[in-house]
Symmetry: C2
Subunit: 217 residues, 2 copies
């Protein structure tokens, strides 16, 4: 049914009628373009693990907090157990140069298989974080686990971590603190499987009432 603006109008009563994967694709695209990170963890036995995350979200700058959504009974369960055991995890931006490897990391490998070797990505470590970074990524964040919140509506979990350290290309860090992730090659994802590079429209000045916006060069 089209509305006055000639848009398709889909109501929730239609959702149960949809084929399962059709519904999953549609609903996954609704939030907009999503961040794309590889979650790096390691088990107490030393088996490294990578999971693809499109739900990483900024929570606050002071303290520096970030979160992500986890489904406990899914491919991310190894990651969850590792975070609980070690207290640490890493986010690694997915770049255009290896986005297909990152997508492959979403396959359901057995627990004893490291997604690093399965997807031809390289684990590197810092002194501070008991979790592997992805060498191929140029924007890497090491976090310490802080808290988890259970979302009752569907039994997913918001995992919260505090940023302990950042690795990034020096030339991407601008004078005012903005990190140019487009220049770093970071990609974005929409829905379950659509990968996109970006092209900057503009940076805009801080908005105030009755003041015209300016483009930050």
């Amino acid at each position: 049914m089209l509305d006055n603006d000639q848009l398709l109008h889909i109501q929730k009563e239609a959702f149960p009628e949809m084929e399962r994967r059709y519904r999953t694709r549609l609903i996954n695209a609704l939030s907009g373009f999503k961040s794309l990170n590889l979650l790096g963890t390691v088990s107490t036995e030393g088996v490294t693990n990578l999971s693809v995350l499109s739900s990483v979200v900024h929570l606050g700058a002071n303290p520096a907090l970030m979160g992500f959504i986890m489904r406990p009974v899914s491919v991310t369960r190894d990651s969850y157990n590792n975070i609980m055991a070690t207290g640490y995890f890493t986010f690694n931006h997915v770049l255009e140069s290896f986005y297909q490897n990152a997508h492959q990391a979403s396959a359901r490998y057995p627990s004893e298989v490291s997604e690093f070797s399965a997807t031809d990505l390289t684990a590197v470590y810092s002194d501070r974080i008991k979790a592997p970074y992805v060498r191929e990524s140029k924007v890497r964040i090491g976090l310490a686990f802080r808290e988890q919140l259970n979302i009752e509506a569907n039994n997913t979990i918001l995992m919260v971590g505090e940023v302990v350290e950042i690795f990034c290309p020096e030339e991407c860090l601008q004078e005012d603190g903005y990190l140019d992730i487009e220049q770093a090659g970071t990609v974005t994802v929409s829905g379950l499987d659509s990968y996109h590079q970006t092209q900057r429209l503009a940076r805009l000045s801080y908005a105030k009432p009755d003041q015209t916006l300016e483009v930050i060069s």
Copy 2:
């Protein structure tokens, strides 16, 4: 300090030393490219409100749940009060055609001023949702409030809503359920103020161990 991969290494002990806005810009860029939505709400007195959100996140497809992060004592407080009073809110994708208007909506207008009129955007309503949609947006989602979770680490809130209805361009909905938000003109944001259009690299087939990925055309 540069590490073995010639990356800048920033440790958390440096954060308190940074100028406040510098730190805010840096930390806000870490999550990657972010979704960009206008949050539409209305007060019981009928005053409409728009807030810019870069934290909308997919929570689940069945039931269809989405969330966003809210700071209670900020420009989004009017939105919070409206959602609590009405039980409803809308997400409206920001398109390239009006991203500057959307950025302007982040200015701190007094409660009695509607951001719609202040930013030259148009409120439209459906029969089901007690909250305004943005007519200029072509991907609009109406949600019913479900729950809120308090993040103790910094006193922000994860707001959870259930999708009640969707408006989208018919030509953007593909046969397999994927909604082509790039074709719809949806933009993405990085950091606090950098807006980006996108260019699709590929859609990739469902990943399985020991199976080669294919590009979905």
